[in-house]
Symmetry: C2
Subunit: 296 residues, 2 copies
């Protein structure tokens, strides 16, 4: 089965369970809105690609880990869009969850999605329960305190933060989790996979900063120039556009070099290359692509 199909099915199973008999209908609709139709599903794809590179001997568990990461990512988007943070009315080219379903349902949808993520992971572990504690430890560490995505968002409440720390926690940590959990789900050592995920994740955050300045509403699916408006840390604000592009390219290089050699390395570098291309606004690709291509 193709990996996108596996991810869709795993996410659908989680949704189905959340919408079962007795669920409050408005909250259920807000959760569905947060999850479907999905974005690029890059994190769960990474998980399945790494699991495949490690043998994928427990595919149900890899699917559970992939769904968990996607649900966590959706939870973070829903809470990021709340009025007290980004106050974003548009997400993925349509109304955000908070715009469509109100603030109360948005808070609760994020909470429910965090719980659903752990639930999906545990459900996938039924036939391989001995792998569950380590998977939970990684997922908790990469999402929660002191250095997960929630901690990363927490840095927005501080007066000052070092940009790399912020980027690493806010975005890099869930990408690291995606690669580590792919390995763990297949019974492999996660340590060699961490750097690949971290570099790719940091590259994502930089690309996001670049698109925030150089993108347009239509391709971005959300308003531009929000970082400056909201006074958020941004690679473009700190390094300038040329500096941010060079930083991005360096991270893509490092991610490519960090892929452990083995049967899946070629596929993973191909994903990296395609993503690096997709991530930049068209107008900037000519500048950045030669280096990204060299890394792939």
């Amino acid at each position: 089965m193709q990996s996108l199909q596996r991810i869709d099915q795993a996410v659908a199973r989680a949704l189905q369970s959340a919408e079962a008999r007795g669920a409050p209908p408005r909250l259920a609709a807000a959760i569905r809105h947060a999850v479907l139709p999905g974005g690029a599903r890059i994190r769960p794809q990474l998980t399945l690609a790494v699991a495949a590179a490690c043998g994928d001997d427990a595919p149900e568990l890899a699917d559970g880990a992939a769904a968990a990461l996607e649900l966590m990512h959706c939870a973070s988007l829903v809470h990021d869009d709340l009025p007290c943070f980004d106050d974003a009315l548009v997400r993925r080219g349509r109304p955000s969850v908070v715009a469509a379903h109100g603030e109360r349902c948005a808070v609760l949808a994020g909470d429910a999605l965090i719980v659903m993520a752990f639930e999906a992971l545990a459900r996938g572990a039924r036939r391989a329960p001995l792998r569950l504690p380590a998977l939970m430890a990684v997922l908790s560490a990469r999402v929660g305190m002191p250095q997960g995505i929630v901690a990363g968002q927490g840095w927005e409440c501080e007066d000052w933060v070092a940009l790399p720390d912020y980027q690493r926690a806010k975005t890099g940590s869930l990408f690291a989790a995606a690669t580590e959990m792919g390995a763990l789900a297949a019974g492999a050592d996660p340590a060699p996979w961490r750097a690949f995920g971290e570099c790719l994740g940091e590259a994502y955050q930089i690309a996001d900063d670049i698109r925030d300045v150089a993108g347009d509403l239509q391709t971005l699916g959300k308003p531009v120039d929000r970082d400056r408006t909201l006074g958020r840390p941004s690679a473009v604000a700190e390094l300038g556009m040329a500096g941010a592009l060079a930083y991005f390219e360096g991270l893509v290089d490092r991610a490519g070099a960090a892929v452990p050699e083995g049967p899946g390395a070629r596929t993973l570098r191909a994903i990296l290359h395609a993503e690096a291309e997709r991530l930049l606004p068209e107008s900037l690709r000519a500048q950045a692509l030669p280096m990204a291509a060299a890394a792939a």
Copy 2:
């Protein structure tokens, strides 16, 4: 070791890990504020009491389950107090998390606490990993969708809700989890313990409704008459004060009758009796106590 001491230590371990090097300091302070000093810690006490009644052969796991329930409870209080829900400035007799640390830290503290809860459970399961999947399934179901405490709060976003469904999800479910997880942590069947937790939890919610009307700020630790102000479902609004008291007493009776017979039954009924007494405002105890005492 006394159970309160075990709970304090398990919660402190979770806090310590959240506050480790690299944590954003304001968010870390908000999380500490949410958890310490604690309230009655009744849910984790129930867990340990049921685990003890079932032999408590894996005390680390029982401690992890107890901490998980307390952290989930704290998460729900922090998010309930947000401006879009109760807009509460006072909790446990001092400023609420949102009043003391702002809305952004309050949203993130709740998110982090949910993650910390699963993390504490997984950490406790290191020596008994085969018990972890079932514990996670119960915790997820009783916290998330479609019928956990998040779903219960979700009913506040609907135009109409049946009071028992609302009470059962919003409060009863975490009490059910407390008893079921105590049994599971000790390797016992959770099914016989569920009704005890559910009845006790529903009694708690009714007592909360009663105190909201008949209590005072000092003993309640939060403003009174919030349910009516906020238009929330309330047993007192629906049944009148006498009806709500009778309903409460009936639930305490049923909880007492639902305790499975065995070596721990006497201790559990004693906890139930003490709690039933503690839960009602002093002015109402004379009316209700004879029946509560009969149940104990």
